[in-house]
Symmetry: D2
Subunit: 275 residues, 4 copies
């Protein structure tokens, strides 16, 4: 991330910034407010520090928007990037994410706004029998809604797991179809949240959790554990809902599960909303 000379030489464009008209700031006569305007699909490196885990470098994709009142022609897009630029080198926590939201409203002179950032996240896991460790990747999204004076933070985590079909197990002489599933929990974070605890709480509701690295005794273990814990897609969302109901840090939530069925070319899907 060294800076680099852009190699364009001195510019012939000697107009002073002051003399350049500011079209965005002109008055708009259509009398239509815009609920959200800003930037999307911006990638920036981040150093994320979630409760219970060390700071971790990752790369986030941002969407940042604010409310634009009816009388204003346009927002100032470059200020969003300036904010990302200034965050470089600072650890991003739930608290600093709240501060970032407040900062955005101030820079854009906006009454409300939203920042969504999606990033790959890693947790080191220990294989159940051999004890070998490896990283598992999860997709995490922080979604902050800000109004003057308050912020509401939602966190989404996509947890890949194994699901094994109870019907297939019950009706078959031997075997049972199973597959990778995604459990997606989207939770309102009233207080800071132990991300490792949230993820492991979800994983324990699956037929079995996943690991990057498994030795043969581990493979035997996860195969048998999945067979011992058959779960429909409906069971996954219900059992995760029960766990989320017990976590004091979680306010409202939705939980979804998608089974990438091994016997079909489509998914089974379920969703519970508690708002």
């Amino acid at each position: 991330m060294n800076s680099r000379d852009v190699g364009m030489g001195p510019t012939s464009s000697s107009t002073s910034p002051q003399a350049i008209p500011d079209v965005q700031s002109s008055v708009d006569n259509r009398h239509i407010a815009i609920q959200s305007v800003g930037i999307r699909s911006v990638k920036y490196p981040v150093l994320i520090e979630l409760k219970g885990q060390k700071p971790m470098p990752s790369v986030a994709e941002f969407e940042m928007t604010v409310y634009l009142p009816p009388e204003q022609k346009g927002t100032h897009m470059s200020r969003f990037i300036a904010l990302l630029e200034e965050m470089q080198g600072h650890a991003l926590t739930i608290a600093s994410f709240r501060a970032m939201l407040r900062d955005m409203l101030e820079r854009l002179d906006a009454p409300s706004g939203r920042v969504q950032m999606k990033l790959p996240y890693f947790i080191s896991k220990i294989a159940p029998v051999s004890g070998v460790s490896s990283l598992m990747d999860y997709e995490i999204t922080l979604d902050g809604h800000a109004k003057k004076g308050s912020e509401e933070i939602w966190m989404t985590v996509v947890v890949p797991v194994t699901s094994l079909c109870p019907c297939s197990k019950k009706i078959s002489e031997y075997g049972a179809h199973n597959q990778r599933s995604h459990v997606t929990a989207n939770v309102r974070v009233d207080n800071d949240l132990d991300i490792g605890l949230l993820i492991s709480s979800i994983e324990q509701q699956a037929s079995c959790e996943l690991f990057g690295l498994l030795k043969r005794p581990d493979e035997k273990y996860v195969t048998e554990r999945a067979y011992d814990n058959p779960k429909f897609v409906e069971d996954l969302v219900r059992d995760v809902a029960i766990v989320l109901n017990k976590l004091p840090e979680v306010g409202a939530y939705t939980v979804e599960a998608e089974n990438f069925e091994s016997i079909h070319n489509h998914s089974a899907y379920a969703k519970i909303e508690k708002l």
Copy 2:
């Protein structure tokens, strides 16, 4: 789409269907309703017939879900596919989409449900000067929410257009940056809707509309037209909102615009909701 013998020979599995336990129908004791359960990422050919256009074959991706009451363990996933199978060969209109929603609730014995289907759609367009014709592709989504006795239908269309930056035009001695943009209108269809009219209404709000095939005189025309009609992403959503407000077939709506900026590696984005 001929049927094909699966070539597995006679099955050794002689159990009669009656004797096979129905796990999904058993009673659930967790007392948690599931708002949506069903299938996702199912591809099926469709023959779609929208107002003002001839029936057109396409390929749709479906998500179909129903409400599952607390006391029922699972839904019957195969009934969704059976419904798709029976629709083969019938033209899909807004009216038959409503009928499909009602049919789904009945088959699944459900009080509410939803069908989303996304498909590529084509409209033949005439180049503005040469008069040559070519197809333009649009992504259309039908989204139907059904409760016993009523259905609400939403239609989403993604309309690719050109946007040319008013600020860039104003401040530069010559030229102006422009780019492809997506205008996405998500409208509640209170009555049937002329899709060609909706799309052309949206396209006329852009700096310029797109065409598959342009001759040189057409290229001159669209270049100059875009330069004559500079629009910010904010202008796009406001001007499309004004047009949607005038269409009597459109109830509530959201309109989004995303400019895949030619001077940045990210998008400018805006959204107006009228609910």
Copy 3:
């Protein structure tokens, strides 16, 4: 696909096409040939007719390119679209695809060129016990390389199947992890090829084939069949290679298999090339 008035009114741009300079046809002095130049990500409806199947409407994504000699500044992009436009309403067979390649070389005045088209394709399948029928979707790509006087056609088909892990079965007291897998066969089509036969030949090498619609007796059947036919990703590609070696219509090929592992968050992958 009705034509639609573009609603732009009479153009003020009255320049005649003859008077507009043709920049692409000017001479280039860099002395660098371009192996491939053309269009990409073009969607067009097609009516595809493959051996052993009825004509089927679908939507294809095209890439069409030609060789550009060193002395020519640019190709004529609009001629590719004109060719697609003229194909509308004609069934696309392997023979007509060859004709399309020759037509492209002629229109673009090029010594060589390539057309790739990818599309969803459907085959109706019969469930193994209940006999209910449903469609399965496959992704098919036709890839034609043309030189003056000859064309070489390759066909790729992605066949989704079930794979069940032999190691997991062997080492576990009960159960075995299984998952959806993609077998991708990319074959040189020396003569026309029965696509139904190619797909079913591949499916029979898997632990089990997939179906859109399965009743409970079918689910019992496919569960037990997969358990009776464990296959590593290595077994999949080897067994498909053996089958492809026996098909007289198939020349060179590559076969790949990707298992979307149910016990990991990554895939197992294998490839055999016979060129």
Copy 4:
């Protein structure tokens, strides 16, 4: 990336690893070698250090494969992950990537193999007039092919730029359509390569380079610069080829350009191969 107790408690599966059969190592009688077998779509954090830049944390997606001889039934998938695990905390350079390839062959006891890793990469750039700095993201892929005793390393970088159409400029009274384009250079790295130099060399061939953050005087500058430097997709690949020919660190290469046309809903595309 703290390790985390998996919370499964002591396993009831007390079988010792030694007693568990090793199916992969058994003998295969089909007499078919597999050119590539391994893992795909594995995400792992990396610390990448390219010539001329500081070490940078990122997240890479890996594909790792080896050759499997005819007589061996399966490879040992877990060894690939073990290798990734041991790389944690070490900076990845071209030299250490070569070492990783050699290590992989040894661990898998394979005569040849390949590692591909794709990751987002960032370079800090200075806006041309205002001098404000911001990050630009690029997608980089390292692709190493190893045989016993030698490795061949290829590096791919996707460089997003602006292209402005020379034909549109020439034939229009005012304006010219322009758009974001991707220039993709895939180069054989005979010696280590200054990534900043490679990227800026490519960017200088475009109508204009991109920046994350531009003030109004910068926007004027890039608008006018693009208008002053019109380039067809053919010009982009030819001019980048000329630059690559002059870089002594670059051996063979392919260069592609894709223009996401602002006047069409498809791309213009060109490719030059020098092998």
